[in-house]
Structure formats: C-alpha cells, structure tokens
Amino acid sequence: MLDIFNAFDVSASGMYAERIRMNTIASNLANYESYKNDGTPYQKLEPVFQAVYDNNLLSDGLVPVNVSEIRQSNGFKLIYDPSNPHANAQGYVREPNINVTTEMVDMITATQSYQANLSAFNMTKNIAQFTINSWT
C-alpha cells in the first residue's frame, strides 16, 4: 500500500492539467478582443496534454498526465472594417481567432474532468482510511 501516494499523485496530475486548461480558457476569454503591444492580435492559448508512460509506474497501473507545453495557435479572423485603426490597406482587420462558444464548452469539459479527478482522489483517500480503520 506504499504506492498509495503515487495514486494520489496521478489524480493530482489530472487536476493540475485541468486547472492549467481553465487558466488558458480564462486568458482566451479575457483577451478575445485584445491586441498585443506590437499591434498583432492576441493568439489563442492551448495546453498540450501528454500521458507519461513510465515502465515502473505502468506496471502498477499508473499513468500520470503532464502539460508538455502551452502553445499559441496560428491564424486570425479577417473582418472588413475600414474605419478600424488596425485595418490594412484593403480595409481588413485581423482579430483574435477565439470562438467564445468553443471556449465556454471547453470550460464545462475541463470543470467536469477536474471534478471527476477530485472524486477519484477522495475515493482513494476513503480506501486508505477504510484500510487503516480495519486494523485498529
């Protein structure tokens, strides 16, 4: 039962990853109309999740998750608005490529995944507690 701490770590890695995802969603929503200092539009942030297959941990059934990078997605929305100060010679304005609806849906998914990991964490705690209480 010594590997119970590794079990906690796996749930914690899942919660950490989902929290990072929530942070990026919050940044994306806050900046969905923002421009950088150099005048280019804000680029959507996306966390990249990666499963960590370590042979020692895998033999115990443990596969934690890692946020390998937070990348900026390419591409902008082009809107025709000649009166905008950011408009180019043809009258088009580049805007951040953020879809608010997509972000909201991602936020719900991230919340549910976080809650699932938290429930599993509590279940592990209950198992440990039950095992200890059985022998006292």
Partner: protein, 124 residues
Amino acid sequence: MGLFKGVDEVVPYLDYTWLKHKIILSNLANADTPHYKELNVRFVPFEKELALKITNPKKQIQPVQTGPHFDILEKESGLVGNDRNNVSIEKQMAEANANYIAYETYMKMVTDNINELNTAIKGQ
C-alpha cells in the same frame, strides 16, 4: 497448518481491486489527453503452463502452476472523439464506485477472517 488459507484466498482479489482503482485513476487523469487509450486490467485467477519447451518426448515435464496474476490491457474499441481518446468519464466513475464496494467487501472478508482466528486463539 493452513491457518491463513482463508486470507490467502482473498488477498489476490484485494490486490486486483487496488490495481483496478489505480488504473481508473490513470484513465480519469488522461480523459482529455490526445491519443490516450483506456487501460483495463484482466484478472487471470489460475493457470497451468509449461515453463520449458519439450525437446525430448521421453522426459516427463510437469506443468508449472502459476498463481493469480493480472494483465494490463489497452482498450482499442469504444467511442473515439477528434482527439482519438476513448475514455468515458461516466463509465470510469461507475466502475470506480463498483470497484470501491468490491474493495471494502474483500477487506471486510480479510479482517473477519483474522478476527475469527483471534477469537479461536483467545478461546472467547
């Protein structure tokens, strides 16, 4: 003496439920990881296998009896989304609850067995 025979029979099932719990934790942690495939564990209760290759038919080779063991498998089927991940959070939560009850039952069987032995030893 076989004093702990009752306990020994339950322990593999206890190990199995604990391993399954850890696998469910991994599946939930990776529910949003692209290309991750759901892991599952298979309980192989008991099997007889030949440990050596038969080279001389005159030689009698007794089958080697191996104890219960577990296989960790990757599930290829299931609903796969755009990220090629086939983990269902709802299914995992249902399995986690069922597995938790199973763990408690097996643990209760072990402790009851030990308590019975205690009663027999003390003669009370």
